[in-house]
Symmetry: C2
């Protein structure tokens, strides 16, 4: 019990240090952008608002504990390196919201909508939506570059950074690839459970847990055996985490998720949950899903009807079982691998925290 | 004369080596993407088509000669590192075309139009334009990541790469910042010559010449004095180069530019050339520019009318003078700086090649 309380404190403490590191980094960008033009202040502000509003900081946590599990000391450098992953994540989310035409993110206007509003308020020329789109693409690009810069300037030795870069670059390519597959699945209207799982794996799972853990280990110069353990723990856990997210996207409380209830249904997301429901649906149920899924105007009643199909087909139960099984697989891999304490204990807790029911 | 012919051959030879390096790198991505899904083949193909269709390879050339001018040897590693800049450039162009809603690039469909066509041909679900947009954002992101990966794996020592990263990261942030300013100027309908020059400086000039040169020098561990020389040469030359591009965008031959005649006028680009014309225009001329500039349907007659204003106001002559003066400034800085031969001679030639009239 004592150990558990201790690691929860560690996790909270780390979240604050990540927040501070991001603040310091972004504040350090102000003079750089100011030297170009004071007109860039709103761009930096949008970046700060997006990045500093909290969030779970899961990716930095996994990178940090990946480093600690490899025997790395608790240093300022690794916290800065780990925090850089939030900038990468910001790029992914900002561009994702453009692609999904999402109006909100974490209960606030998405970046493209924010700049669209600015355009409208200022009465500028041309299309406000086009301006919002451009600003969001560029802020996303900038976050991607800032992530590199934060990682490169974290203070770790050049050799360590080069080891980390190999993991980091691969992780990013897979992230972009997974996002493309997600877009493609929606265009193709695919209903395959297998294909949905693949999207989840590359778009989200690998870069949420496996990638960050291995980045931390690579920075610390951990052995191949440790990296293998991290993948054996990280890949299933990341999938469980993504499946939990899918469930929350349909059944989650808007107060917790920061998104309107059933928003994933309105967006027509081809999640494993939805694919499973379709796979098991009777004719009438399937017709209902095809009719309502992806309907931007879907009201509460429509959401309720879709939810009922997902429950009645057993898809929800099935996905909950998948989550539980994957989490168990992850935890078993963690126990047998060469992971230094206290990292092992914390990773055990993170696994539960990231996959438990939060409906 | 012999020296001049020698360096022209060097430049041609380098272009081929850059092409080969890009080919090898992109071919190396195939198994990585295949391991995710065979559905990614069209993404890689679009990247290859975009990157391997020639181009002037100016940025790699400046990076390579920046390295040589610092006394670096001619090695495979520096050619690979330099070639990575083409991937960064591809990201900038692909995203730029999305933001400008450009239909073509180098005489071929822009990336978002290419994927839009695929969507239409396949009869997929949803909005073809939305699919094209998403695919182009993601391919641009991927090019940005690939650029890092190519640089990180070029084979230069970790310490050299870390020195290079500092220059590279700054250059990329300024590029994104400049692109945002460009979008902002168009939204604000700004007519200021000074503001247009600032956009040109950050969006294009610094990352075409100054940044690549300093990247090469930093990789080679060149002294601060050399980096200062490169900026003194690179910043004015980059501006001259961008101004030449602006002139070509209005007066250029479509066969050379790969874009319809007067396309920059149709897009309403707020170039220094246009800003100068507006600055000097009489009332009638200004009214004509305000009416026609940015008209997507502008016909040949409209283009001719706008061109006439640009000539009659003396804006064209003025910009030609600016180009000549900036080029001279660049060449003078080159002569007095500590630049090793044959780099100095080649940089002298590149200055002429990049800024001479090609109407």
């Amino acid at each position: 019990v004592t150990e558990s309380v201790g690691s929860v404190l560690d996790v909270e403490d780390l979240r604050e240090r990540v927040q501070k590191a991001l603040e310091m980094f972004l504040d350090g960008q102000m003079p750089v952008l100011d030297a170009v033009s004071e007109d860039l202040a709103p761009v930096l502000q949008a970046g700060k608002d997006f990045l500093l509003d909290g969030g779970k900081r899961l990716r930095p946590a996994f990178a940090y504990w990946g480093w600690r599990g490899a025997g790395g000391e608790d240093t300022k450098q690794i916290v800065v390196a780990a925090a850089a992953l939030e900038l990468l994540h910001a790029c992914a989310l900002i561009h994702d919201d453009v692609m999904d035409a999402s109006d909100t993110r974490r209960g606030r206007p998405s970046v493209h909508r924010r700049f669209e509003s600015t355009h409208g308020r200022q009465g500028w020329h041309g299309d406000p939506a086009g301006f919002g789109l451009s600003a969001a693409i560029l802020l996303g690009d900038m976050c991607l570059v800032w992530a590199d810069q934060m990682l490169n300037t974290c203070g770790l030795p050049a050799e360590a950074l080069l080891r980390g870069q190999a993991v980091y670059d691969r992780m990013r390519v897979e992230l972009m690839a997974g996002q493309y597959l997600d877009v493609l699945e929606q265009a193709m209207g695919s209903q395959s459970v297998e294909r949905s799982l693949r999207v989840a794996r590359f778009k989200s799972a690998k870069y949420t847990v496996d990638g960050p853990l291995r980045l931390g280990a690579a920075l610390a110069g951990g052995p191949g055996e440790l990296l293998a353990t991290y993948s054996a723990y990280g890949v299933p856990l990341g999938e469980a985490f993504q499946l939990r997210d899918d469930v929350l996207g349909v059944f989650g409380d808007p107060g917790t998720t920061g998104k309107p209830a059933g928003d994933d249904l309105r967006e027509g997301k081809r999640t494993v949950l939805v694919a499973t429901a379709l796979d098991r649906a009777g004719e009438q149920q399937a017709a209902l899903v095809r009719r309502l899924l992806g309907d931007r105007q879907l009201d509460d009643d429509g959401v309720a009807q879709l939810r009922a199909v997902i429950v009645d087909t057993g898809a929800l139960d099935h996905v909950e079982t998948l989550i539980a099984d994957s989490t168990t697989e992850a935890l078993c891999a963690l126990e047998v691998g060469p992971v230094a304490e206290p990292a092992r204990s914390v990773l055990r807790e993170l696994a539960s925290a990231a996959t438990s029911r939060r409906l």
